[in-house]
């Protein structure tokens, strides 16, 4: 966001104000869009129904109506619960989403922080949310919540690894951890000498992309990996005792982090905010870039939610086996193959 007002150099506090507005938009807009387009509408059409139609044209104001409803709900904290921890959990979960967006670039000058360890930082902070979930499960003093929290912890650490190892392949190809560098590497790259569309890493890192998507699904606890909130077994898992706005915060965080992870996947594998054939340093990319990135976020999120609405839930033991016996060995092989090809060519 350094010079959105083109060619005007802004003081640091002015940049910070712009960034603050930017991150609020980056967290809330994709989250709202994902809920309306996918959860309300796409899911309904897949199940041969219309979904919300009353509030606004085609039910597009439904989300505001929902927020208006939740905000009027009485605040209920079970008397056995650990009140401080109970209140703290939503803060941690929402905080994680904001911290994840820090590293994602939206254009040549439209970035929040140009961290040299970019993707490493993102992988590190994105795993903080498991603490919030464990705290929520533990502090509720509810058996369903406790089981949900423990399941979530086991699942998130198991799928953290394939995700991290899948990213290594991208880093080997881009030779940098900086996300702007990764975008540039994809834009200027070539696939065995052919540079017609650059080198979006989805083409040369297809196995990595698949592993990343599966791990993404599990990290977001979307079906078929939704054991932590399995309705038919655990009521609502770690969120069972949360109601009103506190529940809504978990809900927002779930979809906002879907948007954040989709943005990371789009940046790593689909070329980020760049398009083939555009000038990376052009000023207009600061406006076009966020739109392009949003389109790619929707594309990745579509895959995630398509799977979510299509497949039934795994069994808990199958979940761990998939991570440890399939995804991790596969990602190790992927790293070795990428290294060999990188050195050979």
């Amino acid at each position: 966001m350094r010079s959105l007002v083109l060619a005007i150099e802004l003081a640091w506090w002015q940049q910070t104000v712009l960034r603050t507005i930017g991150v609020l938009a980056a967290v809330l807009l994709p989250a709202g869009t994902l809920v309306y387009v996918f959860l309300f509408k796409m899911m309904s059409f897949m199940q041969s129904r219309l979904g919300p139609m009353e509030a606004g044209p085609y039910g597009s104001m439904q989300l505001l109506a929902e927020v208006g409803k939740w905000i009027q709900k009485e605040d209920i904290i079970p008397w056995r619960a650990d009140r401080k921890l109970f209140a703290m959990a939503p803060y941690i979960v929402v905080m994680t989403v904001f911290l994840t967006y820090v590293g994602v670039p939206f254009g040549p000058d439209a970035w929040f922080a140009d961290l040299d360890v970019g993707i490493f930082y993102i992988l590190a902070v994105s795993s903080i949310s498991v603490l919030g979930i464990l705290i929520a499960g533990w502090s509720s003093a509810n058996k369903y919540s406790l089981l949900g929290g423990l399941r979530a912890a086991g699942q998130l650490i198991a799928y953290e690894l394939p995700m991290v190892l899948a990213v290594v392949g991208v880093v080997i190809q881009a030779e940098t951890l900086n996300l702007q560098g990764i975008v540039a590497a994809q834009h200027e790259g070539a696939i065995f000498g052919w540079d017609g569309i650059g080198n979006p890493f989805i083409l040369t890192q297809f196995v990595g992309f698949l592993i990343f998507l599966v791990a993404l699904q599990a990290e977001l606890t979307q079906t078929p990996f939704d054991m932590p909130v399995a309705e038919s077994e655990l009521v609502s898992g770690y969120m069972t005792e949360y109601s009103g706005m506190r529940f809504l915060l978990f809900f927002i965080a779930e979809f906002a982090s879907a948007g954040a992870f989709a943005a990371v996947a789009a940046t790593l594998f689909l070329g980020g905010w760049a398009l083939p054939g555009v000038d990376l340093d052009a000023d207009y990319m600061n406006v076009l870039g966020p739109i392009v990135l949003l389109a790619k976020i929707m594309l990745v999120a579509f895959l995630v939610f398509w799977v979510r609405f299509t497949y039934p839930r795994f069994r808990e033991d199958q979940l761990q086996q998939l991570a440890w016996k399939v995804l991790i060995p596969l990602s190790l092989v992927n790293i070795l193959a990428t290294m060999a090809l990188k050195v050979a060519y």
Binding site: R19, P78, M95, A113, E160, I172, E175, M339, V343
Partner: protein, 121 residues
């Protein structure tokens, strides 16, 4: 202040923004929502019947071995990342070195697999 520290200052600012947003939403709710406390409302949900026993039930943490393995592989990832940025510069020497490192860890995974640690008991 250097650019590096400024970048991480942004991280701190965003942390503040996140906390402020959550506090603002909850604060707004506090102004609007009703409050009619009744003792029954504050009982833990246990499918509609009165809760039985202590709420902090003892559960078997089934995955502490997974957690140990996770730490091992996470540390591996920490070592692989700096190497990955310079893979081409190190050439075949680096490939063999890193290959040995990864294969040794993969053997560890294989050992755990054969010892039936990777089963959800």
């Amino acid at each position: 202040m250097s650019d590096l520290l400024r970048s991480y200052l942004t991280v701190g600012v965003f942390l503040g923004v996140a906390v402020a947003l959550v506090a603002a939403i909850l604060g707004l709710g506090r102004l609007i929502r009703p409050s009619r406390p009744q003792p029954d409302k504050y009982v833990n949900y246990e499918s509609g019947v009165d809760p039985v026993g202590s709420m902090w039930a003892q559960t078997q943490v089934r995955y502490y071995l997974f957690a140990l393995l996770f730490v091992l592989f996470d540390v591996e990832a920490v070592f692989v990342f700096p190497f990955a940025t310079r893979a081409e510069a190190y050439g075949w020497f680096g490939f063999v070195e890193m290959g040995v490192f990864i294969v040794v860890l993969a053997l560890g995974l294989l050992y755990a697999w054969k010892k039936k640690v990777l089963r959800w008991v």
